[in-house]
């Protein structure tokens, strides 16, 4: 889609998605640095809060999301070669749903243990960052569904670029939020 001389030349997909991606990278950088600054100011609160998180579930979600990303990359490659790609994309979307189910399980366990968004600064930021990321997963699933529907390489590359942004953000969110302090 990008033209020669275009500053987005060489990037896959529609240039508009890259404007969104760069904005999202900025927003999540502010959130993650804000989380770390708050942890610096309230180390005991954050250390206590992190002790209640389910790092194993978060690790499992990392495996699920990265596997989904690999399937999206494979689907994009196959479409570019004129091969069938929808089974790969369906697998990727199914794993995206699994990610949300695991996240819901994690939240349910938190609520059942009596922790909510008003419990402490730690839980406010924990729910804000992970919930905001989960909302992006929902949006990404819609984009992938559009990519599967249209069977157009530029559309699928656009959807895939956004989905891989979510992979990339999660591999940074995971140690920030779940690493024991």
């Amino acid at each position: 889609m990008a033209q020669d001389g275009d500053i987005f030349a060489g990037l896959p997909g529609n240039p508009m998605i890259w404007i969104l991606i760069l904005g999202e990278l900025g927003v999540f950088a502010v959130l993650l640095v804000g989380f770390s600054v708050a942890a610096f100011l309230n180390p005991e609160v954050f250390s206590a809060g992190q002790a209640h998180l389910h790092a194993v579930l978060a690790g499992l979600n990392t495996v699920v999301l990265l596997s989904s990303g690999a399937l999206v990359a494979a689907a994009t490659r196959r479409l570019s070669q004129g091969l069938s790609f929808r089974a790969y994309l369906a697998g990727a979307m199914a794993l995206g749903v699994v990610f949300l189910v695991i996240k819901g399980t994690e939240y349910s366990a938190m609520f059942a243990a009596g922790f909510g968004i008003e419990s402490s600064t730690f839980f406010q930021l924990y729910f804000l960052i992970t919930g905001f990321h989960a909302l992006h997963i929902v949006f990404g699933l819609i984009l992938l569904a559009i990519g599967a529907w249209q069977r157009d390489l530029d559309t699928l590359e656009t959807s895939a670029a956004f989905w891989h942004l979510l992979d990339l953000l999660w591999v940074v969110i995971f140690p920030v939020v779940y690493l024991p302090r």
Partner: protein, 95 residues
């Protein structure tokens, strides 16, 4: 085996390695733990950019910008984690 499959295997291995290192958190200096985990996260993000997104040599400028973004972000996060545990006395002086 395709490069995507190789990148996926590397990402799985790095994720397993991260979980193994975190499970040893009580036995490692906290600063070293944070540096290791974020260095691994940076490598994982780079693998995603190059092999999943497909940002190659024809977009080397963007690849450089995104790698610099990750280095600055991960560097800031490691610095604040090290500062927070040091200020609270939660990590040994050797960290």
């Amino acid at each position: 085996m395709s490069m995507i499959a190789k990148a996926w295997l590397a990402l799985m291995a790095l994720t397993g390695g991260t979980l193994a290192v975190v499970s040893l958190a009580d036995h490692l200096p906290h600063g070293l733990l944070a540096f290791t985990v974020f260095a691994v996260a940076g490598v994982k993000a780079w693998l995603i950019l190059v092999y999943f997104v497909g940002i190659g040599r024809d977009a080397s400028g963007w690849r450089t910008i995104l790698v610099v973004y990750l280095m600055i972000l991960c560097g800031l996060l490691v610095a604040f984690i090290a500062l927070s545990c040091a200020s609270a006395g939660l990590c040994p002086a050797t960290s």
